[in-house]
Symmetry: C2
């Protein structure tokens, strides 16, 4: 389970509330690790009980911002450096491709058109995001450089999938 480490990692950048983290998951991590607010609030409580994070400040409307502890940093670093990567790539697009033979040629062509459009569009967005980071629009912090690498990975993967859909349309 990577959610806890992702939360600690995000808090290592800066203190944030459950609400903040929910939005960051929506924006940044939603496409690779979705998490709704019920899961996030629950996990934050557990992390606090375990001493990996602590309350940083309390704000208006019951807002509670958390901050990472030394133990939390150690834990996320242990995860990054000592825990084997789970290389499962859970992707419905790919799962469906195993069952393309159950679609008519027309249905398949329409499906591949939609997929190609989606992936090429996403790839373009990610390339633009990467270019903006290269232009320095987000500064040059270590965190930004990591996000730059993540954007590059996303751009390459979605480009590959868009190209694949184009290829599949013309495949034997």
């Amino acid at each position: 389970m990577s959610l806890r480490h992702a939360l600690i990692g995000l808090l290592a950048e800066q203190p944030a509330s459950g609400w903040d983290l929910t939005r960051r998951f929506d924006d940044v991590l939603g496409s690779v690790w979705p998490a709704g607010h019920p899961q996030i609030y629950g996990e934050l409580r557990k992390l606090q009980e375990e001493g990996l994070i602590e309350v940083d400040s309390e704000g208006p409307r019951g807002r509670k911002a958390y901050r990472v502890t030394d133990a939390g940093i150690a834990e996320v670093r242990r995860w990054l450096t000592s825990v084997d990567v789970d290389h499962t790539i859970r992707m419905e697009s790919l799962l469906r491709s195993v069952f393309f033979w159950l679609m008519s040629p027309e249905e398949l062509a329409a499906h591949l058109d939609r997929e190609a459009e989606y992936f090429h569009g996403l790839a373009a967005n990610l390339r633009e995001l990467a270019a903006a980071k290269d232009r320095g629009e987000f500064g040059y912090s270590q965190q930004t450089r990591s996000l730059r690498m993540a954007a590059e990975a996303g751009a390459r993967v979605t480009q590959a999938l868009g190209d694949w859909a184009d290829w599949a349309k013309t495949a034997p």
Copy 2:
């Protein structure tokens, strides 16, 4: 939830038991949609109750092979043609990249080396599988052609990730 449709889809190729399906998930679908046998047996029972599959034959050691029904075919086709694709790509490799800044340069370099090796190796395997299919080693059925397309997608995505890891090693 795609598990039920994946099970129906696999049964549409040929009747199979829970055991058979567990192995096919391990072999073929495990890297894009993992499922352990408890989940599979449970889902088969539900699918049978709903009339989407039925028992085809019973064999030694309590083996029960299922076969898809017309309703099952209709349901998987409905999924393929009418249900929006969930484009979430759940991938721990990519999630971790957002937190690379928490690793030392040496740790990161070692990590990227391992990732590059893993993805390039997997890409090579998938390309060889695709080539074997192109040589006709698995026949030329519609199902084989779909698996050929799936292998192509896997090869392109893993190649892109391997290339990305190489790129990231030299990134600013």
